[in-house]
Symmetry: C2
Subunit: 592 residues, 2 copies
């Protein structure tokens, strides 16, 4: 297994030079996020992730979790690492100051989260889920619930879960059956079974705050009859101290392909008569609240795809530089490291440039989150929110596919050793496999992209995105640089192919929804490839600017331009085929 | 876990109507392979695979193998199943009558092998490796060695292994260090360590015949100094009875990502002074003999990719038809099976049509093997051999990538359940992961395709292949059928794009080998996609003919034409992007 080294140079390049930390730090409330502080936070986070969390990655895979009498045992070292995580304040970076957070921009918090995820995906799910639960409470809970739960969730003393799935209700939340009956004291008695609950039970935090979707008596059928409840593992007294154990327990753990270190629980609510729960927001609005949170959660899973792709890349690169095998086909030199072989270099660059493309897109979206949250101009906030809405399914859907492809290539680069578990490459492949599934499969992201993000507003969000793409292409065309000029036609073609396919798809889906859904995933892939090409265009612009200013690491900036060219030749080239599938697939759908 | 059901209708369609069993059965020596006998063999093989071998697939995964004091324990039921396999004569189908085989065409033997592989990939490796070892002896061994070993290997009483890899010599066989010293009695003392030896030790067969690559004293360095030896686990007396235990043992087993039921051994030869071995053929010609066998072995691994893809498809299809979830986006009907959702149907069809494309290509190549082996006309034999040589790296490289993609999609269709080991979908993903690696990685197949199969003869083999493709396109154009006419332009474009990219690549690689190797894998993928499209064109031709004759299952034949159309829209469309990568990637190589 290779050591994880946080790619801070690339991260800072994206944050500072591509997205523009200065602009974000200029927004009200983010004044403290200076480049110096940002650099310090990234360096400290890198150290913590590399030294404390990364070494537990394999331990977690090998030991996994176990449950006995409802008590879940996590792998060795997990407890100490989680304590260090909380004590270091790593759970508070992006959280609001009002509840004890550091109120840093999401742009910065995202990079920190990526490091934790790259170090140890199974471990990272605990704070990520707590963040998601906090976000739901921030959005929808009463002041009283917020005050009672948020400070300790943000500090990490208590963790959070999301309880959506039931055996008959996976992707289809409308089928939820868990019930909540009102009690005399204003609370509710929650009864039902939930499955696939990540960190549903453990002893790393003092309390676990379950957010549970359930139906009130006489609630309307379907998605409009689902409410959201807080169900704490231990009831919380008015003074904030822990009260009695609630009627909720872990029945069993799943035996999974990967992320063994994170317990995936079957949870029973109300076996002893009813778990005490508290309604969040208004009745029957649970799904709406979950959807707000889901944007964050889907962004977070997209980041997991990028994080595992980075980890797999580093592992493969280390192996390829170390492993001596074969003869250089060009020079004839014997016993070269396999990274000298063209196809191994190609695979490494494919991993590297797609991972960075997905990362640039995600960080750029994080910057738009910050604008949507904090910009003083309402129109700017609204536009940023629209772009975020449009890009979330692409960040989630495409980055997780990139994560899977990269871990697959990572094993391939190792040859036979990649198939041996001790090597560590196979764990990344196994861990990554859930990412295109949870928080909505790739098919569901594609459905969301087409039906909600493109169709509902008649393409308004899409035009906003395309305007940004075209602006950057024009800027690139204006640059006098041979290396950049060589790839701009491919970039422009890629974006234009994406644009045409999008309008054709929207037009066709208006009259034939089934045909549209039939090619929604190829379209999402096309969108990811095109957004990635756009981001590499932005990277080349930023690198060219830095080179012109004579600032920073020139070799790094030149490599950015070369890698942009690689991406255009090896990835952006796929746009036409994907667009052809979107258009020709529409026809074929009617005949099968 | 779903039941495996051998796809005999599709297999017979390919064997009889697409490849043309009649022509193969008309070759000298294959007269017994009548359609009736072929159908009977396929039905019996299906029954055996489904009832005896398939039920052990999960047992093998869960139990795996263990070793104690050099004795390897295989999973429960393995021994009984292997005995039944041998007693049923399943090991003898394609083997020469001279040594007890049934001398059936490879076309037919391939379908039987696919069934065994689909049922239980880990189990199937034992007979497949024995076949490979037998093929090497048939090619190169003396009459005496053949007579001594082949009959019992072909009957399955003894199994075979291939011992190539050493810790420092994986893909690079030139680096082999195992030594063989001549002894006074004409035998050799073999000393060295081999790794990744599949079924290197077990107690399913009475004896294990190891084929070992080693160096004679004073052998030239590199690949021209490697010789091939037979090293039996038990020495064989002149009367054929077993003698003393040879100095070879299993030191340890690998802990692998998949195919847990097959023991992957570290083998020590000569720990007690030297294992007794016998030279096969001439000194220093070992690699050449291995290469002859490797064609067969690579074809066999390509078949494994198809077999696991079929198994994953069946599992996903069964789940998608059973699992009720969500609303039909078109009709609005509630609680439909997920196979009604357009994206799930798309994924199922992608699995199905790519798997069949790869199968048609492999079976067609098997038919060419038979022609190369048995045709009375030397020119016809030679041409068939050339086409086989050209297509083997595509069958191996592309079918195994299809196998990996399909098992990935198979998990995806299961949603969260796919990530749970008990479901069985994850096992296929894990099992498939070795297929793009062993018997030469995809990169090595691509290298072989470009350097040996395209460059060496100045494109002669390629022209032979293209002529066949163009003939079939012309035949399709002449057909008056709306459904076929709709996809022929895409097929023609796909083949033409492949052809142009091939000539450009050959031309460029002549002056710049490194640039050629840089895009060899995208070119191999392009070749696979184009050959698949060609085969679907052949399928449409055959189905149209059957429909015209009013023969057979009309619904099946119409579905073949629809599926051909799906493949063109969803897979053949990718050819242009791949070709663009081959051409533009050539340029980008020089700058990185």
């Amino acid at each position: 297994m290779s050591q994880y080294v946080a790619p801070t140079q690339t991260m800072r390049f994206i944050i500072e030079d591509l997205v523009g930390l200065e602009n974000i730090a200029g927004l009200p409330g983010f004044e403290e996020a200076t480049p110096d502080l940002a650099a310090a936070i990234l360096d400290e986070a890198a150290k913590f992730a590399q030294e404390v969390i990364a070494p537990l990655n394999r331990v977690g895979d090998v030991q996994g979790c176990s449950v006995e009498d409802g008590v879940v045992r996590t792998p060795d070292g997990w407890r100490e690492a989680y304590r260090a995580f909380c004590e270091g304040g790593w759970s508070t970076i992006g959280a609001p100051a009002e509840f004890g957070g550091q109120n840093m921009p999401k742009l910065l918090a995202t990079a920190v989260t990526e490091m934790v995820q790259s170090s140890n995906l199974a471990f990272s799910l605990l704070p990520v889920l707590t963040d998601g639960a906090s976000a739901a409470l921030l959005t929808a809970a009463s002041a009283e619930l917020k005050q009672k739960y948020l400070p300790k969730m943000i500090s990490g003393e208590w963790s959070g879960t999301m309880n959506l799935t039931e055996p008959q209700a996976g992707s289809d939340i409308a089928a939820i059956r868990t019930r909540a009956e009102p009690a005399d004291d204003g609370s509710y008695r929650v009864v039902g079974q939930k499955i696939f609950i990540t960190y549903g039970e453990h002893e790393l935090a003092e309390n676990i705050i379950h957010l549970v979707l359930a139906r009130l008596p006489d609630a309307p059928a379907g998605v409009k009859g689902i409410s959201l409840f807080v169900v704490p593992k231990f009831l919380v007294n008015d003074d904030g101290s822990l009260g009695e154990r609630n009627d909720v327990r872990c029945v069993s753990l799943e035996h999974k392909l990967g992320i063994h270190g994170s317990p995936t629980c079957v949870m029973a609510f109300g076996d002893q008569g009813g778990a005490t729960g508290y309604l969040v927001g208004l009745p029957n609005r649970g799904l709406e609240y979950m959807f707000i949170m889901m944007n964050e959660a889907r962004f977070g899973v997209g980041m997991q795809g990028i994080a595992i792709a980075e980890r797999a890349f580093q592992q493969a690169q280390a192996y390829a530089n170390e492993r001596v095998q074969g003869r250089d086909a060009v020079t004839g030199a014997d016993n070269v490291p396999i990274s000298a072989h063209p196809d191994v270099r190609r695979m490494l660059l494919l991993m590297q440039t797609r991972t960075q493309a997905a990362r640039m897109l995600a960080y750029w979206v994080a910057g738009q989150f910050d604008v949507a949250h904090a910009h003083p101009d309402a129109l700017r906030r609204e536009r940023a929110r629209q772009v975020v809405d449009l890009l979330i399914p692409i960040v989630k859907g495409w980055s997780t596919e990139v994560g899977n492809d990269s871990t697959h290539l990572g094993v391939q680069i190792h040859g036979g050793m990649g198939f041996i578990e001790e090597t560590g490459a196979a764990q990344h492949l196994r861990d990554a496999r859930i990412l295109t599934i949870y928080e909505g499969t790739t098919g569901i992201q594609a459905n969301d992209l087409l039906m909600r993000k493109l169709m509902r507003d008649g393409g308004e969000r899409l035009m906003l995105l395309l305007a940004g793409m075209h602006d950057d292409v024009e800027s690139l065309k204006a640059i006098d640089d041979k290396a950049i000029a060589a790839f701009v036609p491919r970039l422009a073609a890629c974006i234009s192919v994406f644009e045409n396919a999008a309008w054709k798809l929207i037009d066709r889906a208006r009259s034939d929804v089934g045909a549209g859904l039939w090619v929604a995933v190829p379209f999402l892939t096309l969108a990811g490839v095109a957004c990635g090409a756009w981001m590499w265009g932005k990277a080349a612009l930023a690198a060219h600017r830095k080179l012109g200013e004579g600032e920073g690491d020139a070799a790094f900036h030149r490599a950015q331009i070369s890698q942009a060219a690689f991406y255009m030749a090896h990835v952006a080239t796929q746009a036409e085929g994907l667009a052809a599938t979107v258009v020709e697939g529409l026809t074929a759908a009617t005949e099968l």
